[in-house]
């Protein structure tokens, strides 16, 4: 019964003091918010921290949500800004380690780990691996477009960009993702031979 309620209904109930309504809202969106956070942090622990922080921030400013845009668009804007702030802080803390370097490290770590499980690898595994190798902005746009049910205009609102800029960025992100996917698959075939 509760699952049939819309986001707006749950928000109204939360504002009326029903905290379990907010728990339902968290359950409904946690996977996507966590996935978006993963696009920035590359570590589950950090992503979970970012995602939790987002839901707490959203709760604090729930009364300020006017309902002019979709709740998800509003929530993803919080995720994007929280993740960007987290990245900036992390960069300062780690004495500005080069981004690409970090991703290559993560990528190699993943490859080494998965060398034992080659048989279990599927197309979706390679896709996720390729997405992990993208820069956060590219990965975020791809994820918002394909999994966030967001139009180009809504993505533009979330990222604070023009819709045309998002369109161009999406095109480039797809090209990069395609290249990485092809490269990973070629590498895997070589490994198997």
């Amino acid at each position: 019964m509760q699952s049939k309620l819309s986001d707006i209904d749950l928000i109204e109930q939360t504002l009326a003091g029903n905290q379990s309504a907010y728990a339902d809202l968290v359950k409904r969106h946690q996977r996507f918010v966590f996935t978006l956070a993963m696009r920035f942090s590359k570590s589950r622990e950090d992503a979970e921290e970012i995602a939790q922080d987002c839901f707490i921030k959203a709760y604090r400013s729930l009364a300020a949500y006017q309902g002019q845009s979709k709740f998800t668009t509003w929530l993803y804007t919080i995720v994007y800004h929280t993740a960007m702030t987290f990245l900036r802080k992390k960069r300062v803390a780690t004495d500005s380690i080069d981004d690409e370097g970090t991703y290559i490290q993560v990528e190699n770590h993943e490859s080494a780990y998965d060398a034992d499980n080659v048989e279990n690898k599927s197309r979706s595994y390679y896709l996720n691996q390729a997405i992990e190798q993208l820069l956060p902005d590219d990965a975020t746009i791809i994820t918002l477009f394909y999994k966030g049910e967001q139009s180009l205009e809504e993505i533009a609102q979330t990222l604070g960009m023009e819709a045309n800029t998002v369109k161009v960025k999406l095109f480039r992100a797809r090209q990069r993702l395609k290249e990485k996917l092809e490269r990973n698959l070629k590498h895997e075939v070589k490994e198997l031979i």
Binding site: Y22, F34, A47, E48, I131, L152, L177
Partner: protein
């Protein structure tokens, strides 16, 4: 102009005009290069759409709700405080000050030629001597406290501004 790939992505996403849509549809039918590229991008599009979402830990929702509960549960809703209360308190002070001002002016006799201002207050009300207030030790300490408070508030405001700028 756009590359073939860019045109085809626009066609797949449905972000081009109806005229462009028709033109690209015709090209896909007639041109082998377009047709092959279209099939390739269509497969890629399906593949991208099939990406899986990551799953947070089992205790995720619980952790969020626990954090919210431990922070004051009603605090997030403070924006919903009735503004009429704040306006009412403000109006009370403004009304009191205005009433006092009107009362004082109504009881004041101005005699400009002599350069004196006489205030006739109702019997029983005595105004304290202004000179004694300004020269008193309490007033000096009050001024010092005000200056320190002003410096403290300015400092915290600038710090907040600085933090927000770097965040």
């Amino acid at each position: 102009m756009n590359t073939i790939e860019e045109k085809l992505w626009n066609y797949i996403d449905g972000t081009c005009t109806p005229a462009e849509q028709d033109a690209i549809a015709r090209l896909i039918e007639q041109d082998e290069v377009y047709s092959q590229k279209y099939q390739e991008l269509l497969l890629l599009n399906q593949e991208f759409a099939s990406m899986e979402l990551d799953e947070p830990s089992m205790a995720f929702t619980y952790n969020v709700m626990e954090t919210i509960r431990t922070e004051n549960a009603r605090q997030p809703l403070k924006a919903a405080i009735d503004k009429r209360i704040i306006i009412g308190v403000g109006a009370f002070f403004v009304f009191t000050i205005l009433a006092l001002l009107i009362f004082t002016i109504a009881n004041t006799h101005f005699s400009f030629p002599a350069g004196n201002v006489k205030v006739n207050l109702p019997a029983g009300i005595k105004l304290p001597s202004a000179g004694s207030i300004f020269s008193s030790q309490v007033f000096k300490w009050f001024l010092v406290f005000d200056v320190v408070l002003a410096l403290f508030l300015t400092d915290s405001y600038l710090r907040r501004k600085n933090t927000a700028k770097h965040a």
